[in-house]
Amino acid sequence: MRRRYSYAYLDPVTKREIRRKLLKAVAIPGYQVPFASREMPLARGWGTGALQITLSLIGPEDTLKVIDQGADDSVNAVNIRRFVAQMTGAKTTTDTLEATVIQSRHRIPEERLREGQVLVLQVPIPEPLRYVEPSEARARELHALGDYSLLWVDLFEDHLRRGLSRMGAAYPVLVHGRYVMDPSPIPRWDIPKMHMAPHLTLLGAGREKRLYAVPPYTRVEPLAFADRPFTREPILGRCRRTGANHVFLNAIPQEDGRVEYEISDQGYLEKLIKGVAPGPLYEG
């Protein structure tokens, strides 16, 4: 006996709250909007925030792509895709260019997204100040004051001690020149893709109960000293299937202690292998 659910599983009151909060988030780029965050049939920490966003926006005319670490076939992505398709009748795809909504955990696809596409990112810890200021209340005050000195101090210390910033995924970024935001644990490789991008990015943290957004064509600047600029991770090998080294690669351990590499963006990898022309990539 399966209950009958509202369209897209969420009841209308929930949908309304989320849509209103999303509008607020888009109106204040990078600002974390608290929301009630319902429990979903997915465990907390597994994407309930982004899922609520997707379900609030998607319609039967939409085409959905879901990836986890760049892979469409990751079990978590499969589960989410199944669920949304079931609840909404939306089409699904693994082709970045075909999708109207892309829900992603920890990656931005390599092929450039267009105007009109929506990227929904899953966020474990939305607060960029968390590790320098454990108090939730105090962190909110710092955001209100625009006081991010703690992050800068941490960055200074890193440069002093190690000559570089140790931060990897989830590198803090300044959005629209006002709020510092945690871009979700995407690699540094993906950070430049957010700056002045044609697409809309929405970020959801279900467990921590926050929504935030980067509207199209918005400045997204990683925190860095002007004379110690932000750099992306080095790509240390070549994809074992295509020889590519111009996009982010997964490291795959081998028995003998070696490592092999493979393109992380599965949709993009498949296009290269099949000889299908991929879309334009991000510059640089």
Binding site: V153, L160, D227
Partner: protein
């Protein structure tokens, strides 16, 4: 000097903690390039007064700083979000260095923090300005990378001074800065303060229970007793000819 306008002025400061009246109507001024010493015993309210001057405590009364944009505005009436703007003009050296410094970060990092807050975004410039401030504070530069938790108390206080200097504030506030320093270290520390005052024309308010500390650095002295100003004047005058019984006791105890 009396014809000049004061850079800092408080009038009628009153502060209560529950039933206890810590400050009962204190007024004083600070003039440019002078060191004002506030002396008093425990319970006199001197540390509370300093905390109020640094806008860490609320109080009744009026508080003015003669800086552009803030003339004539009672700083005690500002809300929380306007306070950081005012604090740019002030620097505080705490009795306990762990309140003013990040004990686990490099000393240099604590020193440059106010510069970062002001908006400096060039790493090399921060390092250069930070080292300059440490040098002015007579801090051994080879230890600039050491965290304060690995330094002696005297060195920690010098890092605090450096942090204050880097900020280039209007007024430096010092709360019992020589606590825990043995006499020799204390003497060199106060010497540094005196030299800085002379070279840089600093304006400072120094709070202490110890008259010998005050006499080394202060131009004018204010004596606080049980939350009230009982005596004030030029340092030499107050020390040589104390009027109030409490001041006399203090002075007498030293001779």
């Amino acid at each position: 000097m009396l014809e000049e306008r004061p850079i800092l002025q408080v009038r009628g400061i009153r502060k209560r903690f529950g039933d206890r009246h810590a400050l009962k109507g204190v007024s004083l001024e600070l003039y440019p390039q002078e060191v004002l010493g506030i002396v008093g015993g425990s319970g006199s309210g001197k540390t509370t007064l300093l905390r109020i001057l640094h806008l860490e405590e609320e109080a009744e009364g009026e508080y003015f700083l003669n800086v552009p944009g803030l003339e004539g505005r009672n700083l005690l009436a500002l809300d929380r979000y306007q306070v950081p703007e005012v604090r740019r003009w002030l620097a505080m050296v705490y009795q306990d260095p762990s309140r003013g410094l990040r004990m686990d970060f490099a000393s240099l990092t604590s020193v440059v923090e106010p510069l970062i807050l002001k908006g400096e975004r060039l790493y090399e410039a921060l390092v250069a300005q930070g080292l300059e401030a440490l040098e002015l504070a007579d801090f051994p530069l080879e230890r600039a990378g050491s965290p304060p938790k690995e330094l002696s108390q005297g060195q920690r206080q010098r890092v605090q001074i450096a942090k204050a200097l880097a900020k280039k504030p209007l007024v430096i506030l010092l709360d019992e800065p020589t606590t825990g320093l043995d006499l020799l270290v204390q003497a060199t520390f106060l010497d540094t303060l005196r030299t800085l005052k002379r070279r840089l024309g600093l304006s400072m308010i120094l709070v202490s229970h110890d008259l010998s500390v005050i006499r080394m650095v202060a131009d004018r002295i204010v004596v606080l007793y049980e939350g009230e100003v009982v005596e004030e004047g030029l340092a030499d005058q107050v020390l040589e000819d104390p009027q109030h019984p409490f001041t006399q006791e203090l002075v007498g105890a030293k001779l």
